[in-house]
Structure formats: structure tokens, C-alpha cells
């Protein structure tokens, strides 16, 4: 007769023991050790029958159970005069109880896992769609790039050409950043939005362009203006920074 029972799988000897204790409805503090040991050994037999490799931990526990059983059969020695004997099962019970704590928690975790697996989240919105204030982002723009190129080329040519050095020394101070800040804020007082490009009139000197740009950066830094590029390739627009929270 083939008996085709699916053998329950246990995580370890404690798992199996705990199962046997529950199945037999016995008190964990007063385990009928002979009975439980017999069932435990039977289970190991079944495992062999099903060609399941019996992990060494199961065998160690089997030995422990048999040892406890034999100690319980031995007459109690009272040579040292102690009244109450130490129950040979005590250590095992303690470990079982410790294990049981986590067994309970495991079930709770399983329940929570089932529930929270059903929660779905949202992919983060691409940052670019919210932060395309690129001048704020890294504080450089095309004119910075040109400026940098210009200066490096100047430096480069000055290494080979004395003239440029002379030219630099007679350059005169004209417009200040403060002037340009005034200019920009003034325009923003009357215009809701100012095109970045429109800040540079025809015939603007290079200093003027740089100073205007520095003024703009300063206003961004001071959070006085916002610079916005609505489309990736769109115009750069300067606006007063809205202080929705109410101006103080």
C-alpha cells in the first residue's frame, strides 16, 4: 500500500516540535516527552521514506529528546539534598518558548506582508519638468560660456601677442551691477515678464552684458526674481518671484 501523504515541511527541529505539541494539544510546560519523542522520530522516518534529506539539526534534536527521555526514566538522585529536582525538559522548554515568540511574530509579519504588497506607489515625476530654471540650477548660461571662451582665448593670445595686454589696461569702468539690478527691477515693476534676451539692447558693450548677467544672478540669489524656461528650447523669461505667503 502506497501512502501518498504530502509530508509537511518544517523549518527546523523547533518548528517540528512545536507542531507536535500543538497537534497533541499538550502543555508546553509539561511535555509528555516519551510520546512526543516517538512522534518526532516517526517524522524523521517519514522523511527518509520520502527521500527527504534529514538535516543534521533534526538528528541532534532527536538525540536530545532521547537523552531527556532516559533522564526522566532514571530514578531521581537526591544525594545533594535538594528537594526539587531540575526538570530535564527545562532547557528544551525554554528554547521552545523563545522560538514560539518569533513564530507568532512571523505570522504577524506574513499578514502584514500580504496587506502591504497590495499598496502601489507612483513613479517620481521627472525633476526636469519642475526644475528647468536652468540658470538657477547651475548659474551659467550661454553668455557665461562665451565669456569664459573669450577670456581664455584672450589669455591664450596674450601669451603670444603683447597688444592685447595693452588694450586691457585702458578699459574703463562704466556700469555697475547695482545699476543693472535697478534696471531689471525697474522693468519688472511695469512688465509682468521680461524676456532675458530683451535685457541686452543693441550696441551693448561686453561689460554691460556681463554686468547685466551678474545682476540677474544676484537677483536670483536674493530670490527677488524667477527665471523660467517653459519649454526646453523656449525663451528665458524673468519674473518677479511670487511671494504667495504674503510679503511679511
Amino acid at each position: 500500500m502506497t501512502y501518498r501523504v504530502k509530508l509537511e515541511v518544517f523549518e527546523g527541529p523547533f518548528d517540528l516540535l512545536f507542531h507536535l505539541i500543538e497537534k497533541n494539544e499538550v502543555d508546553i510546560y509539561d511535555i509528555p516527552i516519551a510520546e512526543i519523542t516517538a512522534q518526532y522520530l516517526q517524522y524523521l522516518e517519514d522523511m527518509r521514506y520520502f527521500d527527504i534529506e534529514v538535516a543534521s539539526e533534526f538528528l541532534v534534536m532527536a538525540a536530545t529528546l532521547i537523552q531527556i527521555k532516559s533522564r526522566m526514566l532514571l530514578p531521581q538522585q537526591e544525594e545533594d539534598g535538594t528537594e526539587e529536582d531540575i526538570d530535564p525538559r527545562q532547557q528544551l522548554v525554554e528554547r521552545l518558548i523563545e522560538y514560539r515568540k518569533y513564530k507568532g511574530i512571523t505570522e504577524e509579519l506574513k499578514k502584514r506582508e500580504d496587506k502591504y504588497q497590495l499598496l502601489l506607489f507612483r513613479e517620481p515625476s521627472p525633476v526636469e519638468s519642475y526644475v528647468d530654471y536652468e540658470p538657477i540650477l547651475i548659474n551659467i548660461d550661454i553668455s557665461d560660456l562665451c565669456k569664459a571662451f573669450d577670456s581664455v582665448m584672450k589669455r591664450y593670445s596674450s601669451l603670444y601677442n603683447e597688444d592685447t595686454g595693452l588694450e586691457r589696461s585702458i578699459r574703463r569702468e562704466s556700469i555697475t551691477v547695482v545699476d543693472k539690478i535697478k534696471y531689471i527691477t525697474n522693468r519688472l515693476r511695469y512688465e509682468k515678464e521680461v524676456l532675458f534676451q530683451s535685457l541686452f539692447g543693441d550696441g551693448e558693450t561686453r561689460e554691460s552684458i556681463v554686468v547685466t548677467f551678474l545682476a540677474m544672478l544676484e537677483l536670483i540669489r536674493l530670490k527677488r526674481i524667477m527665471v523660467e524656461q517653459r519649454n526646453t528650447f523656449g525663451d528665458i523669461i524673468i519674473r518677479n518671484r511670487k511671494t504667495k505667503a504674503g510679503d511679511k
Partner: protein, 180 residues
Amino acid sequence: MDKKEFKGIIEALLFVSGDPVSIRDLAGALEIEQKEVMEIIREMKDQYNFERRGIQIIEVDGHFQLATRPEHFEFIQRLYSPQRKQGLSQAALETLAIIAYKQPITRAEIDTIRGVQSDKALYTLSERKLIQEVDRLDTVGRPILYGTTIEFLRYFGFKSIDDLPQLLEEQITYLDENTR
């Protein structure tokens, strides 16, 4: 700005982020105190629940995130059929329970409690970022001390690590009372 406005902004911020947002970042964006943010979010949570909204605010370790509700999963599945991740094995859950409660803890200690080797379970749990090496013991071999991660909290819906021992302890007391 009134509270309603703040609520709207917080909703927008959490919506855009998708990922958990720290209370610090929220307070920074709103330019108000963290305490105030907490209070507003608490109200929002209640409102969302009361109105049986399609989204809820979940809290993990001082971070907030929008998520759907478990009861709507079925409908979402109809439309998108999201794959449910394979749940953790019994061994992994057991190991995780022990780590959660006893952290920081070495593998040897876990093995002793479980009565079996936990190598494989520890590997799985590390892979899924539910546990991490938090330290090493100052003894021979400097064994690794394991602890749980923020992902662990999120995975099981715990607000913070402090929620955990309490919940576990309650359970143990409950179990003990009901089995003695």
C-alpha cells in the same frame, strides 16, 4: 496661507515625488515648522481615510509617501496587472522576526533561536534590502551584527522601528496569556 493651502501643497509635493519625502524637506518647502507639518499631515491622513480616497499617506521613519489602498488593488490589477512580488519564505520571515526584535544580532544567535542554520535566509533578506550589517561584534572573527532597514519598515507597513518592539511584545504577552 491657510491650512487648506498647506494641505494642497503637501499633496502636490508628495504626488510629484513619488518616493518618500522627509518631514524636513516638507517643512523646508513650506517654510513652516516640522511640528506644524506633522499636525497638518495627521489631519490629511484622517481626511483621506474618512473620505475613502483612492490614495493614502503612509509614514516610514519620518518620511511620507502617497500610496494606493490595498482594497483597490484588484481594480488596479484589472487595468495594469502589476506583478505581485513573491512573498518571503517561512524561513526568511522567521529570521527577519528574530532580527527585528533582537537587533543587533549575530548569525550564531539567530541559528540558536531557530535551531537551524540561517545562511540562506540571511542572504535573501540582504538581497531584498530588508536587513543590513549594522556593526561587527568585537570578538574572535568579528561576526556581523544584523539589523533591519527602512525598507523593512516600509515592506511591513511599520511607521518606525519604535512601533515594532511594542507590537511584538504585545503579541508575546498575548500569546503567553492565552497558552498558559
